[in-house]
Symmetry: C2
Subunit: 248 residues, 2 copies
C-alpha cells in the first residue's frame, strides 16, 4: 500500500460542504465515488479541513492509502477526468505511511473576501460577502490585532470538541479598488481554526468596521469565552481555504 | 412619454446573448418581461451592444420610452426586484427624447480576460479564457499596435452589415499574478466594434503570443480584408462589455 497526498481546489457553491453526507452532493462524496471507479472498491479518504457548505478551497489536502494500480503522478489526470468541473486535483505525491492530511497539519491559511459597494460585480457574487456600507479598515485592523497569538477562542466558535486554544499567526487585510467598489481580502494564518471560527471573527470584524462594536471590545469578547458576546457568523461563500502547511 | 437610460450588468453564462430570441433565455427578454410586469404592456427596449451568448457586461446601456407611472430613480429598485440575480440595474436616468442607446453611442470599452496556467482557479472559470502555455506579452503588444487607429476590420469580423471601418483607440494589456498562474486583461477602447471583432482579434493575438503567428503578420492580415487570414474566434466567456460612452 502507498500513502497518497492530493492537493485539490473546488468551488463550494454546489456542495453541502467537504465531508460526506447521505443523499446530498459533497466534495468528499465526489472524490470517493471517483476513487471507487478507479479501484472498484471503497477507498477511505481523510481531508485536512472539513469546509462547510458553500465554502471554497484553492488548496485543500486529502490523503488515502491504495495499492500500486495507479501511478502516483497519474492521479490528477485520472481523477479530473471523472470529477465534476468544479472540483480539480492540482497535484499528487506519495508520502510516508504516517502522513495524515488532518493530524499532520501544522498550519492553515484561509482568505475571507468582502466586497464593499452598492452592487456586487457578477463575477464576485459567489466568492465575496457583499456589504453596502464602507468599513473603517484601521478600526478593523486594530480589532484584529487583539486576536493574534495563542488564545482560547471559545467566544468565536460554534462548537468546541477538545481544546479551544488556537494560535493565529497573522490576519492581513488587503484592499483592491474595483470598478464598482472595493474588494477587501482578509488573510488568516494559524495553527488551526475551530468550527466556524474564521466566519465568526469576520462577522465581528465587520461589526467593528461598521462602528457597531469598538475595536477594543474584541479583546473583551475574547476574554469572556462566551459565543454570545461575538458578532454574527459571516456567510460561507466569502471563505476560501487557501492552503495547508505540513512543515515543522 | 419620457426617455429612460439604464446602465446594467449581467453574467452572460446562463443567457443566449443580449438580444431577444424565442424560447431561450436572453437578457433583453428578461428585461422586457420585467418592464411588461411594471407597465402591463410591451415596452420596446434598445440595447447599446448585442452581446453574444456567454458574453458578460458590467456597463451595458439600454433605453426605452415610457409613461410617467414610475419615478425615474425607482427603476433600479423596481426592476432588480423582478429580474434574476445575474442581471442587475446599476443606475437610471431621464435623457432627451433623441437619445438612443445604440445610435447615440460614441465609443465602447470591452475587456477580454485570459488566464495562463495549468489549472484555472474556480472563481475565474466562467470569466476568463484558459490557456495553458505562456504568452509572449511583448509580441502580443507589438501585434496589437498594428490595430490601433481607423481601419477596415473585415479580416476580424464574422459578418459585416454596413461600413467595415472602425477606430480602435487603445488596446491595453495588464498582468496580474495569481496563486495558480497569471491573469491577462486586454482592455479595448474604440468607437465601435464589428460582430465578433474583439474575439477574433483576441484569437489572433493569442496565436501571436504562442509563436504561431509573427507580430507583423497582424498588419498583413488587417490589409488583406479576408476573415480566413485571421486566427480563431476566442471563446465568449472571456469577454465583458465594460461600458458605453455617449460623450462628444
Amino acid at each position: 500500500m502507498k500513502n497518497i497526498k492530493l492537493v485539490l481546489m473546488y468551488e463550494g457553491t454546489g456542495y453541502f460542504g467537504f465531508a460526506s453526507q447521505r443523499d446530498v452532493p459533497t466534495v468528499e462524496g465526489c472524490l470517493k465515488r471517483s476513487l471507487k471507479n478507479l479501484y472498484s472498491g471503497d477507498v477511505p479518504v481523510v481531508g485536512a479541513s472539513r469546509t462547510d457548505r458553500g465554502v471554497h478551497a484553492l488548496g485543500q489536502v486529502v490523503s488515502f492509502k491504495v495499492g500500486p494500480k495507479i501511478e502516483t503522478g497519474d492521479f490528477p489526470g485520472a481523477l479530473n477526468f471523472l470529477l465534476p468541473a468544479d472540483i480539480r486535483i492540482l497535484s499528487s505525491e506519495e508520502v510516508t505511511c504516517d502522513f495524515h492530511a488532518r493530524f499532520s497539519a501544522r498550519g492553515k491559511e484561509y482568505c475571507y473576501s468582502v466586497f464593499v459597494g452598492r452592487e456586487i460585480p457578477f463575477n464576485l457574487r459567489n466568492y465575496a460577502h457583499h456589504v453596502r456600507r464602507e468599513l473603517d479598515v484601521p478600526a478593523v485592523n486594530c480589532a484584529a490585532s487583539h486576536l493574534i497569538g495563542e488564545h482560547d477562542f471559545t467566544s468565536f466558535a460554534q462548537e468546541i470538541i477538545g481544546c479551544p486554544t488556537r494560535r493565529i499567526e497573522s490576519i492581513k487585510v488587503s484592499e483592491k479598488v474595483e470598478t464598482m467598489g472595493c474588494l477587501l481580502e482578509f488573510h488568516f494564518r494559524g495553527n488551526g481554526f475551530l468550527y466556524k471560527m474564521v466566519r465568526t471573527i469576520m462577522g465581528t470584524l465587520i461589526e467593528v468596521g461598521h462602528g457597531k462594536k469598538k475595536p477594543d471590545e474584541v479583546y473583551e469578547i475574547l476574554k469572556a469565552r462566551d459565543r454570545k458576546r461575538a458578532g454574527v457568523t459571516a456567510p460561507p461563500h466569502g471563505l476560501c481555504l487557501i492552503g495547508v502547511n505540513y512543515g515543522k
